[in-house]
Symmetry: C2
């Protein structure tokens, strides 16, 4: 009779596009999110943890005339025929919660949420199918004061995690101003909102590429089109010269603001420390400090807030002419500017920037984006800007999907992995996980005594372990200590036990000596000393304090 | 032409069996997990966050001869034909990670993990399809010192979150002792491990029901069977009297241990505070303090550790006779007892209890369970024991699935929701989320000034918001403050602004007065006072400190 086949062994593999986080990966992210949560809490935001699973219906990814759910989400069908799916962001669940619990939640409802989201996309280098998001939103507040608050909070959150003033900038724009400009340029007809949708799409994408293509590139895309270096041709929006001038005039306000903001940050960065503080205090008191409606003024320090605001507002008003929506957008930007100025957020932190578009179609008013402005070296050693780490805006139509009633909402999402990468690049991700003190096992029969030692160390608040592998090979124990990044090893053989002492091995100093010591130095073992058993905890404490100091 | 149908509105509903967590639900759990993580960290455990999604293959839930994955997990098929699934616990992913990264991880590998898991089960009251687990495991340590360490750490973790000594007990058993007893009772043949599997299953389930059925009930199930109150008959294991005596003798050791442990906890609970400490220190020093191998001794305080250990060990050795596996199990329990005693964990915290079975088939050695011993009132007002909040044990075969090589492992899982419920019942779940100070909006045009106020409060570390709803109806603003559990409202109308003052409304005192005040008291408004604008932050601080004190 044939033997039954052995069961096939499963492969030990993280699924494609997913990853595991070990040790410091987990603690550093947690430390960062804890600091952000503290800021959100101070602003009156309450945490919400919605279920990871939603009905596909609620996520709004269901296409009515196909059997299978839309791509982009992980979904499965229940026995009862319903489709469930993993959430792909934290906004769609918020809209569902806000609709479901509308009678119980306070209005406005300020909530923050932190957690994983899932995307059913082709994985690529650095692109994962599960990643963290960290969102804060205000639902039920129509006032732009809610938008201003989100911008201020984003600024505070970035500083709280360790991004210094001057190393980031929050840019604010308003879809309404943009729409006003489009109206004036003749690619938006308020009486027929669907007309020119194709042209507007090209214009928006062109604006979004300003950083990469420069003014000339954008201009080409507004007109006939643009041939890139490889010879590929991208079709343009086919605007006339006059139409394109309107859009470019708008963009140029953004460019000037950016230059001013950067020069201001540059100025700050090169001031001596004492003066930096003085400089930071300027916008609130002396120059008055609204956000940078900055233009012709060469030097922010010499311009009064009122002059700058008036200049910029008049620039934008000129551009939107008598477009109703455009003017209401400028009004809102002015209000946001005033509200932030009242709380002391000057153009070194938050600026109006007409080049901010934000991809998502659902934004209806103010949009914002936080960019890190310091340079890092890329994998080829070239300096490059770190770029965007957070973005958001006002979306007044999301809850309406469920209830039929429009509910104003605004919020921001921080890209957790990108921000953490930035903190690591700046050396601000917090202490990497300290390894434990290792109590080695010289004598297997005396395990209880080693356990007593480790118990005493832990009681004293010291991270410590007994080596629990096979103790036969002492070298393996020290290799283990090395792998764990242990600062100290404790050794007590039969001889030491009889004499009531322990050996304390300073592994940090040991590693340093190993790199450079002569044989004599090595033999003299300055990194290892004997201590009375009763003094062990005190000696370990002393050594750890020394190493930290 | 017929109008196109309006798109159907999706239902705003959490999927069946799932739930959302709001505010304090989130922060209280987080505070508890943070405290547990601190203990795990001190014991040298590193965090691991594996992906929520695993291949179904790796989870081991795939039945080779059916098309669909096994029930119990949420799974879906990828376009390439692979099945993915949400993890149903944190142990299966650990086994996968330990196999996948075996060349990079330290050996032994101590890791903790906290996060949601998903079960595709019929939801019921209080039973959810997504819930938190909090695990700690040591992979690659064959020594029972690893098991002892887990028990000590569990004890420390429970105390760290606010379960007092005397309010919990960690029970330890060993599957090997149980197997030895089974062997002696004639329902386990070491030469043919599959024989009597049916009978053993009944015996294990009977032991597991000791708490509910009592000795007589278990005895009935070991024999012919048992009729319950409703008249339903449960078939028994059909053991002979002599066979059943062996199992009952074993169980009785457990019963005596439990009685001793409880009387010891009772004794401690009724000692004056100063003596409690003295009592706690006894096991370590004076009576020597191994875990409660407690039996004939009437009073733990009067017995020396050596005597107790010797008595209990001899009882168990008598029971397992010359079963090899049984004797090795008793050896291990003795070792665990000694190791814990060396660290000062006496029978008031950790006891040997032969009635602990733990359902899961994969345990191979020591098993443990933490039970809360205080009483709470159930929904009908009847006192009942809180019961089990954590459990675990040694499972030496899980990693083998992947690599073919046996890897010893042991660990514990804390039932996060149950433990949190216990803390709430004890009033130890931490401060509920404090509401923000609300700056009300009396005058919409002066929003910038209100924003400045709230900015100052936040700068001073005070949780604060401006009311961002429609400010027209002032009553709604106070209702909002009430819903947010706000301690204080700030009011500044045109008049107050002109005079440079604000009104500070003490909402906590106000609520108290509202309950009992006469009309005169109400009118005199002792809960509201005026302060200079420049003193606002200081006055709010003073008031908050008073309310906390």
């Amino acid at each position: 009779m044939a033997k039954p086949k052995k069961p096939r062994r499963p492969k030990a593999e993280t699924p494609k596009g997913f990853r595991d986080y070990f040790g410091a990966d987990v603690t550093e992210r947690k430390a960062m999110l804890d600091k952000i949560a503290e800021v959100y809490h101070r602003y009156g935001f309450d945490p919400l943890e919605s279920s990871a699973v939603e009905t596909l219906d609620a996520l709004g990814k269901y296409l009515p005339d196909v059997d299978r759910p839309n791509a982009g989400v992980f979904a499965w069908q229940e026995d009862d025929g319903d489709w469930l799916a993993l959430r792909y962001d934290l906004t769609a669940p918020l809209a569902r919660v806000a609709a479901q619990f509308r009678n119980d939640l306070p209005t406005p409802y300020r909530r923050y949420a932190m957690g994983p989201v899932w995307r059913n996309e082709k994985p690529g280098p650095g692109r994962f199918r599960q990643f963290y998001q960290c969102d804060a939103d205000t639902v039920g507040a129509a006032s732009v004061a809610a938008d201003a608050e989100i911008c201020a909070m984003l600024s505070d959150a970035l500083e709280a995690v360790g991004i210094d003033k001057g190393d980031y900038i929050v840019r604010v724009n308003n879809r309404k101003v943009l729409n006003g400009v489009m109206e004036v340029a003749g690619v938006l007809d308020p009486a027929d909102p669907d007309k020119f949708e194709h042209e507007r799409g090209i214009v928006l994408r062109a604006i979004d590429k300003l950083d990469r293509l420069g003014e000339d590139g954008v201009r080409a895309l507004l007109g006939e089109g643009r041939k890139d270096e490889s010879g590929d041709f991208t079709e343009g929006a086919k605007l006339t010269e006059a139409q394109a001038d309107v859009v470019m005039g708008f963009l140029r306000v953004g460019i000037q603001v950016n230059e001013q903001a950067k020069s201001r940050q540059f100025t700050r960065r090169h001031l001596p420390n004492g003066l930096k503080e003085h400089f930071d205090n300027l916008p609130k008191g002396i120059v008055g400090g609204p956000m940078a409606f900055v233009g012709e003024a060469d030097n922010l320090l010499s311009s009064s807030a009122a002059e700058l605001g008036a200049w910029a507002a008049s620039q934008l008003r000129d551009l939107v002419k008598d477009s109703e929506i455009g003017n209401s957008g400028v009004d809102e930007l002015e209000q946001i500017s005033d509200l932030l100025a009242a709380q002391g957020y000057g153009p070194d932190r938050i600026v109006i920037d007409p080049s901010v578009v934000r991809g998502l179609g659902y934004y209806t008013g103010p949009v914002f984006e936080a960019e890190l402005t310091f340079e890092i070296l890329d994998e080829k050693g070239r300096p490059r800007q770190f770029g965007s780490v957070a973005g958001g805006g006002r979306y007044d139509d999301l809850v309406k999907r469920f209830t039929g009633q429009a509910v104003p909402a605004t919020g921001v999402s921080i890209g957790v992995d990108r921000l953490l990468a930035a903190l690591r690049a700046k050396g601000r991700a917090g202490d990497s996980l300290q390894g434990p003190v290792i109590v080695t096992v010289m004598d297997r029969d005396r395990m209880a005594e080693y356990q007593a030692m480790v118990g005493e160390l832990r009681q004293a608040g010291i991270r410590a372990e007994v080596y629990l592998g096979n103790p036969k090979n002492f070298g393996n124990q020290l290799k283990y200590a090395d792998k764990r990044n242990s600062p100290i090893a404790i050794i007590q053989g039969t001889d030491e036990a009889a004499r009531g002492v322990v050996q304390i091995k300073d592994l940090v100093l040991g590693a340093r000596i190993a790199e450079s010591a002569s044989l004599e130095e090595w033999k003299s073992q300055p990194a290892q000393f004997e201590a009375a058993r009763g003094e062990m905890v005190a000696e370990v404490k002393r050594l750890l304090a020394k190493e930290e100091g």
